[in-house]
């Protein structure tokens, strides 16, 4: 287990997430892509902390923040999905070309 | 390695003994309360043999993989929950210094697994059970988290081993009187029992397990009892001083205390009414959650005093 190996795994997770976020039509699946990218980020953050920071606690703090960001993304994302769905009955990206009304 | 093997052997013993005892105890309670029925010490074995002789039916277009995984997962989460419980000083199968958080992770996986169990058969009653369980199972975890943080405060550690050690002078059930009752309610929810049985209840003809037959049914019922054992062991470690006790060896105390908690949970499950979902949600958010804040506040004040 080396830093390089961890970062390559993180890069793979990020790449998959990018593919998912770009290719999926549905909002919810799009959010899954974003979460997957954050998953890679989280792994990379923990990896850097464990191998290059001599265990400085700020590294762990970063990981906690990544998790908080995930929670915020998910909550606001779902709230927006519900709000858009109420108005438009649309749950796919093509359903909202405009944000008006 | 020796201590690990010893702890593992005790774990298997507690689990097997606990499952059998829970089944018998359930029979005793329902006999006492309903005024009829029989209690046989071998009845649990007979009942599970019936399921094992039966065919495992398929529903139409089920999610077979998740059906299997939910049952196997529920059983293994129960065993993992038990594995963080110390059977003696430093005698735990999983010795993590974050074992309380680890148990929290188990709790949230349980919600996922029960949902999957209701989702997989592709049938309406089990799906309703699954939805309802998520609606109740997620919020009831909040009080449980606060209660667990409260027991971590006097120990100044998130390790269940330290939490047991911190109860040398006084048990947490006395030091934090609000903790155990709240935690027991969570136990009812984790084991799908009585007032918190929103997944497998009678009004859904068995809910998530309505479509289980044969080995699946046996597995799920055994897993539910195993979960009761796992939960009771964690509760006894967090609130009743775990392995601490005079004369007898530590792991015997763990077993005794686990069985006591188990009896209380089974008794409550027969005696408490189940509220409709909306009312239960109100109860959790408006009453139980503030009480758990009080518990945490109390624990903090006691620690500062």
């Amino acid at each position: 287990m080396t830093l390089t190996a961890i970062l390559i795994v993180a890069a793979a997770l990020f790449g998959i997430g990018l593919f998912g976020a770009l290719s999926q039509k549905s909002f919810v699946m799009l959010m899954m892509g974003l979460e997957m990218m954050l998953n890679g980020t989280l792994l990379a953050a923990v990896g850097f902390w464990a191998f290059t920071l001599e265990g400085a606690p700020k590294g762990q703090l970063l990981a906690i923040l990544v998790m908080a960001v995930m929670a915020v993304e998910l909550a606001i994302g779902f709230a927006l999905v519900v709000a858009v769905y109420r108005k438009r009955e649309a749950d796919v990206i093509e359903g909202i070309g405009t944000m008006k009304q | 390695m020796m201590t690990f093997a010893l702890a593992f052997a005790i774990l298997i013993l507690v689990l097997a003994l606990g499952i059998w005892f829970a089944a018998v105890l359930d029979g005793v309670f329902s006999r006492q309360l309903s005024g009829h029925g029989t209690v046989g010490l071998l009845a649990p074995f007979h009942a599970s043999a019936v399921y094992l002789t039966q065919q495992r039916l398929r529903t139409e277009a089920p999610d077979q993989l998740n059906w299997f995984l939910s049952i196997a997962g529920y059983l293994s989460v129960a065993a993992t929950g038990l594995a963080v419980v110390p059977f003696g000083p430093d005698l735990a199968v999983i010795g993590l210094d974050t074992s309380v958080v680890f148990w929290g992770a188990c709790e949230s996986l349980i919600v996922v697994l029960v949902f999957l169990h209701g989702w997989s058969p592709n049938a309406p009653l089990s799906l309703i059970g699954a939805y309802r369980y998520v609606a109740i199972g997620l919020p009831i975890m909040l009080p449980s988290m606060f209660v667990l943080i409260a027991v971590a405060i006097p120990a100044q550690s998130l390790d269940l081993r330290d939490i047991v050690a911190s109860q040398e002078t006084v048990w947490n059930v006395i030091r934090q009187p609000l903790g155990l009752p709240l935690f027991l309610l969570l136990g009812l929810s984790l084991t799908l029992r009585g007032p918190f049985d929103y997944a497998d209840s009678d009004d859904l003809a068995g809910g998530t397990s309505a479509e289980d037959s044969g080995a699946n049914r046996a597995g799920w019922q055994v897993a539910r009892l195993a979960m009761l054992v796992g939960f009771s062991a964690v509760a006894s470690a967090a609130f009743l001083g775990g392995y601490l006790g005079p004369v007898l060896p530590g792991f015997v105390w763990v077993i005794i205390k686990t069985l006591v908690v188990m009896a209380i949970v089974i008794g409550l499950s027969h005696l408490l009414v189940r509220l409709p979902v909306a009312r239960m949600l109100g109860l959790i958010w408006k009453i139980l959650l503030p009480i758990s804040f009080l518990d945490l506040l109390w624990a903090g004040l006691v620690a500062l005093a």
């Binding site: 009955e89 | 005024g35 007979h46 094992l52 002789t53 039916l57 309406p124 408490l272 009414v273 409709p276």
Partner: protein
């Protein structure tokens, strides 16, 4: 017989009861028999017990129910005689002890002396899969279509907060343990909220003594106390009453649930039943239909409402309610409506 079968032969016989209108009074008291376990779902039963004669209209439901029992299984007719296609079924002769016949039948099943009942209905999808779109989907868009013989759930209006999610329509009954026997309802559900209700078949006319209070206690998560009601004069036992009160039933039943025009609600009907389980309240029911009572209620509340009425009152309410036939003619449903009933699950 292998050792598992030998162990299994020592357990009580798990039976699922399909109740006819003329089921004998002892049917309820079978709960007290230590040789039997009455299970809530056919998936857990070894023997299907047909108690009393089923009306012709319910025969089809019995066939579906039968096929949901796991092998090895048997069908036993009690106070009725086997009809086609149950040629292999056991009939309890007059004077025979039910429990011993069931035990014998189960032993024969386990030992292999008796062949397990074969399926009555063919095990195949009601319709063949018909892909329409370019990806093999059932409808022209990504939505719709009739995959495997039933329409896909489509969005429908919601009566709670207007979020138009998928609604699900299915028939429930006539043998579901939480519905009064014989009752078949066609419910449209949004999650566990009842959105729409139509009566396919009202409950039987029979007045089983004390059914309501036992059903209510079971629905409130107190099955052991419900079984206690089967013991003679349990309702006069002060200790039992204290247990029921302490369990928190008053808190559990929402106020004004299932209110009739004369002010009676589930709570008052429950209190009345607790005092006198054998003579349920007879509220004033003119003009009251199931839609008024059930729509917008979640599942457990709806079941509480249904079971708080006695069968006579329920039949009156059903008579006021839109029936399935009305709905079929009023709604423009393009085929496939009959196929909506879910042979795999809604049947029991």
């Amino acid at each position: 017989m292998n050792w598992i079968a030998k162990l299994a032969a020592k357990a009580p016989v798990p039976i699922f009861i399909a109740r006819g209108p003329d089921a004998p009074d002892e049917t309820d008291r079978l709960h007290l028999n230590p040789a039997l376990t009455i299970v809530d779902t056919p998936r857990a039963a070894s023997i299907l017990l047909v108690a009393g004669t089923l009306p012709h209209a319910l025969k089809m439901y019995l066939h579906r129910l039968h096929d949901q029992l796991p092998h090895p299984r048997a069908t036993v007719f009690w106070h009725s005689s086997p009809t086609e296609p149950f040629s292999n079924a056991v009939e309890i002769a007059h004077g025979d002890d039910l429990a011993s016949v069931l035990l014998r039948t189960r032993a024969a099943l386990l030992g292999g002396e008796r062949a397990s009942d074969a399926d009555v209905l063919p095990d195949e999808p009601a319709n063949e899969w018909q892909g329409v779109g370019p990806h093999g989907q059932g409808g022209k868009g990504m939505m719709g279509g009739t995959p495997y013989g039933r329409p896909m759930a489509m969005t429908d209006d919601d009566i709670r907060d207007g979020l138009k999610l998928d609604a699900y329509t299915a028939e429930f009954g006539p043998f579901l343990p939480m519905l009064p026997a014989g009752m078949i309802l066609k419910l449209t559900l949004q999650g566990d909220i009842i959105q729409d209700v139509a009566v396919v078949s009202p409950p039987y006319e029979d007045a089983r003594k004390g059914r309501e209070i036992r059903a209510l206690l079971r629905l409130l998560g107190l099955p052991t106390l419900a079984n206690r009601m089967l013991v003679e004069n349990a309702h006069r036992d002060a200790g039992f009453k204290r247990l029921v009160t302490l369990s928190g039933v008053r808190m559990a039943i929402p106020p004004d649930l299932g209110r009739t025009h004369d002010g009676s609600d589930v709570r008052s009907r429950f209190e009345h039943l607790l005092k006198d389980p054998f003579s349920p309240q007879k509220p004033h029911l003119t003009g009251l239909d199931l839609g008024d009572l059930l729509e917008g209620r979640e599942w457990q509340e709806a079941m509480l409402i249904l079971n708080s009425f006695d069968n006579v009152s329920l039949r009156k309410i059903c008579a006021n309610t839109r029936t399935n036939a009305d709905e079929d003619s009023s709604e423009q449903t393009s085929g496939g409506h009959e196929n909506m009933d879910h042979s795999a699950h809604g049947g029991h």
